[in-house]
Structures are given as C-alpha cells and as structure tokens.
Amino acid sequence: MENIIGSQIIQSSDDEFIINVGPQHPSTHGVLHLQLKLDGEKIVDLKPFLGYIHRGIEKMSESLNYKQFIYLTSRMDYLSAHINNQACCLAIEKAIQAEVPERARVIRTLMAELTRLASHQLWWGSTGLDMGAVSPFFYAFREREMILEIFEETCGSRLTMNYCVPGGVMNDIHPDFVRKVKQIIKQFRDNLHEYDELLTNNPIFQSRTIGVGYLSREEAISLACTGPVARASGISCDVRKKEPYDAYDRVTFDEIITTEGDCFARYKVRLEEMKQSMNIIEQLIDNIPAGEYRTKIKGIIKPPAGEYYQRVETARGELGIYLVSDGTNKPYRIKFRTPNFSNLGALKPMSLGGKIGDLVAIMASLDLIIPDIDR
C-alpha cells in the first residue's frame, strides 16, 4: 500500500528536481497525479496521488437496488464496461441462485471477448502514441471502430453498453451480429501483420521496451498484480481458466504466460491475448444455442442475507465483486477489487532508476484506467 498512498515527496538536495506529472498530462491517460523526484533524467522517487476522479461508486451502490447498481460499474473500467456488468450480474445470480439460459451465457462471453479485443486495440494504439508514434493509433481504431459498431447495433450504445441484466442479457442479438463478428475477425487476422510491422518489429520500439520496467515474479505476487501484467512476470492467474464463468468452460484457449517481466513481455502478452480472444469468439460464434436470452426474474431482487464474491477477468486483470446482502432490495455493502488499483502499485518498483521516457513506456505497458483506480 505504501506504493500507492503516501505523503508528499520532499526535496532533499539541490541536485534533485521534483516534478508533478498530472493530473493533466498526456501520458497518464486520465487524472492520475504522479510526483517524481528526478536526478537529471533519472527517476529517484515516485509517488502516485489518487482521488481526482473518485465518485464514490461503492457508496452510491448502497442506495440503489440490485438491478440498478450494476450499471454504475460501467464507469469504473470504461473499456471493460461489459465485463464489469457481467461480474455484477454473476454475483447477483449467485446470490439468488438464478439459472441463466445457455444462449445468454454464450452471448455474454462473446460480448466480453469483443470488449477485451476492443480494449486491447485501444491499448495498442495508445502504447504507440505514448512512444511518440502517432500513426499506429489510427490503425488500431480501424478495427476497434468495427467492434463498437457491432455493439451499437446490438446494445444501442458503443462504450457503456449496459447489456447484462441479472438472469441473462437485455435483449437478443442483432440479426447481423454473427456475420459482422465473423467479418471483423477475418479483417483483424488479415491486418495483424501491420501491427507487427508498425510496432512489434520496430527496432526503436524494441529498444524502448525490452529490459525496461522489470517486474519480478515475487514482486508481482506481493503487489497483487493480475492480468497481463502478472502473466508477463510468469504468474498463472487467468480467472477464465481458474474459475470458469459463463461459457468459458466450453472453449479451449491458451493462457499466455511469459517470464521476462519487462514492458515488451507485457506488450507481447496482450498481443497474443488478442489472438486468443479471437479463438474464443470463433469457437462460440457458430454455436450460439437457440432458446431464451433471459430468464424472467421478478422486479425486486432480494437476495438472502449473506456474503457473496464473484471474480472475473477484465481486459486488465482480475475484478472481484464482494457483495454483502442484509436481505433487503439494496446491497448492504459493495466492495470492488479492481485490477488497476493493484497494478498501479507496481509502477514504483518498475520505474525507479529509469528515465522519464521509461516511465511513459511503463505506464503504457500497465494500461492504467484511472476511473478504475479511484472508483
């Protein structure tokens, strides 16, 4: 915790130089405020300051009923909005022991993987942008835009889709859904070589990332890192494999694990994860079971008193929902264990001793979403 919350850095000698990065800064992707102590260009100390976008989502959830609070979580990790909603729905379904139709499970999984694909594409573009290469951003948006159009057709909105409801999904998929998903998968596979040409095989990009921001396996465990950040350090932590939810138990895919632990390893893990997401989508898209897309659940949900926990794998790591019910129609307490909060803790050990340019590369490889840290 001392890596995340703490007091201001104090200048101790004349050689040192204290600089505030953020809350408004191009490479913090939001309102993260970092205080850096520099010796020339070298980072001597670093401290993140949080709270610039704290909206009290956990507290707000306590005054909304079970069907309403789900959609506040779209505003946490807005790039994995659907997966956040899915986690809440799964927790509620666990609490009331509702049966979810097979069709809804598959649709949810498909949507979750499309969300992951779109999120990783945005990350890929912004990684290039952070390294000073502007063009990759637009190439990433080409495919991302098509995915968002699919979302819009089926769910009515592009980013915060609010598509999951307890017991299934809001409505059935659009008639064009299957065709368009197949089309985007084909197009993305055809264009993947461009991703490699623009960044992966670029010598400047490799020299900026290989060996930069090393995170050892032990540190990653002790800092509770999850998602691609932990998997690049050699930790097997994919919730989709460990505790399959929805339709993940019926698909085969690889958990990408590398042991290098540097920025390039995290980059490669995410790039490979995109291919695995496409595998999952390809396995499911032709086998969407017929039937109901939602079980009828009565208007007011009153789960039995008790504690419920559900974890899912968002695009950035493990999201845990801890739900305490007192038997009324509103949750007694909600606690989110968000992936970005713990991943942010790894920023300091990774970037100490590096240059300012390294810090930018490391932040890009962490793929931080600030509203998810503050909530």
Binding site: P26, G128, M131, S135, F137, L199, I204, K355
Partner: protein, 352 residues
C-alpha cells in the same frame, strides 16, 4: 528579372541607396519565400500524415482544406501572447524571435538557381552550419525563461541533442566539401555538373548522405528525435508556456530549419539546381535540361522534405540515452572513418 530590378533601382536611387534598397527587397523576398513554403509544407505535412493514417486531413477550409494554414495563422494572431507571472520576461519574449531570425539568416548563401543567390560568399557552407547552430541558444533561453520544469527539461534535452548531432552533420558536410574542394555553395553545385555527389562520390558520399539525413533530422528536433518537445513526456517541451504568435514563431522556425536542412542536403548531395543527367544518353539529358533550374532545386527540396515528414509519421521516439548513444557510439565514429576513406579516395583521384 534580377538584372531588370537592379537597373530600375540604379535609375531611381544613387548607387549606395540602390544597394540598400536591393538588400531590403532581397530580405523581403526570402521572408515571402519562406512563408509561402511554410504554408505549402504545413499543408503537405498534414495531408501526408492524414493519408498515412487513413484519414482525410484538413477538408473544411477552402477546397480540400488548402486554406487551413491561413485559418490557423489567423487564429494564432487573435490569441493573447501570455507571459507566465514568474517568467524572465525579457528573455521569454526575445527567445522566439531569436530562433526565427537565426534560421532566416541561414538562407543568405543558398543558391536557388544559377542566377538567384543572395550572397555567394566563399565560405557559404561553413556560414550555414555556424549560423544554424545558434538556434539552440534561443531554445535554451525559452526553456530557462519560462520558469517551468517541463520547459527546462525540454531545453536541456534539446541542447544536448543539437550540440551532439552537429558534429556528425558537420563531418558529413566536410566529406563533400573535401571531395568538391570548395566551401562556397555555388562552387559545390558547379562541381556536380557532371554528376551529383551522391552518385559520383562512391560509397563515402552515400554514407555521408545517410549520416547527414539522420543527424539533421535530430538537429531539427523532429520525430523520431523530438525529445525536446516530446508530447507524452514533457507536454510540449521548451515552448510549453508560449501561446499565440510567439508559439507560431517557434513553429515557423522549425519549418524554416527544415527548409534549410533540405536545401543544404540538396546542394551538397543532390546537385543543387543541376538537372539529372545519365551518362551519354543525350536525348534524355536534353529533355532534363529543358526543365528550369529552380524547378529542379525546389523539386529536390520537396522530396527531402517528404523524407523528413515520412520519418516523423512512421517511427516511435528514442529515449534520451539511446539518442546520445546513437550519436557518440555509432554515427560519429562511422562519420570519422568515412571522412578518412573519402579523403583517401579524393587524394587518389578516384572520383569520376
């Protein structure tokens, strides 16, 4: 046309005054040329960047967005030039004009065509390199006077970068100066009448050209060497605190330096205003001779500009230590060895 203007001036004024008025007119002509070229190349850069990124680029102002640059300048003119409260006001306000003046100075010895040259001094190339290296003073002034830590970091990076890369650029220029045996711009161009240096200078000239291209891109502070204004690291580097026309001055100076570098590269390696000739193929050579020299010159300049723009929109940025390593560990030693090889070749008379 220059002779005609000269006669008119001599008829109107005494010889002394005619010279002064001539200088002023020449200076104005250079400023107009640079502004026109800046407008054209800003438009080109935006369009090329857009096409590289699958966009359309500016489309709204004028036909296909051709008037976009004018709209931008108009907007910048209406903006208030802010000076931060804690800034060193004098230095802060002088810096942009210093940077721009210095880059304009470097145009004096450039030969646009056989008859169009402001000042054919016998040390033209030396003059260009020495004058253009003064620009870093303005950048350091801007960074220091802004009283902003990001600006200061950007200015220090820029200082380290420009001072380092000038060595390599200088050595690459020396190789050609040695081969042609002249420091004057017109002399170097005349030495290429039978073939451009990039063709007849064998491998040393080619290596010198590559080194010159890399080092001069770095001197320009443009991507992939744009560490001085690295947006994602230092917001805007040394010109973070500038707004309005003061910012436009820095912007124009950046483009002016681009033209200088392209013109210098054209003069040294690509034969200046000399047309392209291929051996004894007379029919081809005669057609090439029909194209006026200034078109050759500006054509080559814009090809070089396109190269610089292409670099910017393709590569990620280097890190500061990698940037300095590239210069001191690779470019400078290679340039030195190349200079020695080039001098041996010149000494033995092995150039065509």
């Amino acid at each position: 046309m220059t002779h005609w203007i000269g006669e008119k001036l001599n008829a109107l004024f005494s010889p002394e005054w005619a010279a002064y008025v001539g200088y002023i007119l020449a200076g104005l002509a250079i400023i107009i040329l640079v502004v026109v070229m800046a407008v054209v190349s800003i438009y080109l850069e935006r369009k090329i960047a857009a096409f590289m990124q699958m966009r359309l680029g500016p489309m709204r102002v004028g036909k296909w967005g051709t008037l976009q640059a004018f709209a931008d300048v108009f907007k910048l003119m209406l903006k208030e030039p802010l000076t931060p409260a804690q800034a060193d006001k004098q230095l802060f306000n002088i810096a942009p004009y210093l940077v721009l003046t210095v880059s304009f100075l470097a145009f004096a010895p450039i030969a646009f065509s056989p008859s169009l040259q402001l000042w054919d001094m016998n040390i033209g190339v030396l003059y260009i390199t020495s004058v253009s290296s003064m620009g870093v003073i303005g950048i350091l002034m801007a960074g220091w006077a802004s009283n902003n830590k990001y600006s200061l970091l950007g200015a220090m990076r820029s200082g380290a970068q420009i001072v380092s890369y000038e060595l390599s650029a200088g050595i690459a220029i020396l190789t050609i100066v040695m081969m042609s045996g002249s420091l004057s711009v017109s002399g170097i161009i005349k030495s290429q009448a039978d073939g451009w240096w990039i063709f007849k200078g064998h491998i040393p000239a080619l290596i010198a050209f590559v080194i010159f291209a890399i080092a001069s891109t770095a001197e320009l502070n443009r991507a992939p060497f744009d560490l001085a204004e690295a947006e994602q690291e230092l917001t805007a580097g040394f010109h973070t605190e500038y707004s309005g026309m003061q910012f436009a001055m820095f912007f124009l100076a950046e483009y002016t330096n681009m033209f200088i570098v392209s013109m210098l590269g054209t003069t040294l390696f690509l034969g200046g205003w000399m047309p392209l000739h291929i051996g004894n193929w007379d029919a081809f050579n005669q057609i090439m001779d029909k194209i006026p020299p200034f078109l050759w010159f500006f054509g080559k300049v814009f090809i070089s500009l396109f190269m610089i723009i292409w670099f910017r929109w393709t590569f990620p940025r280097l890190r500061i230590d990698q940037l300095l390593k590239l210069e001191w560990k690779y470019l400078l030693p290679i340039g030195m060895v190349n200079l020695v090889i080039g001098s041996i070749i010149t000494w033995l008379g092995w150039i065509f």
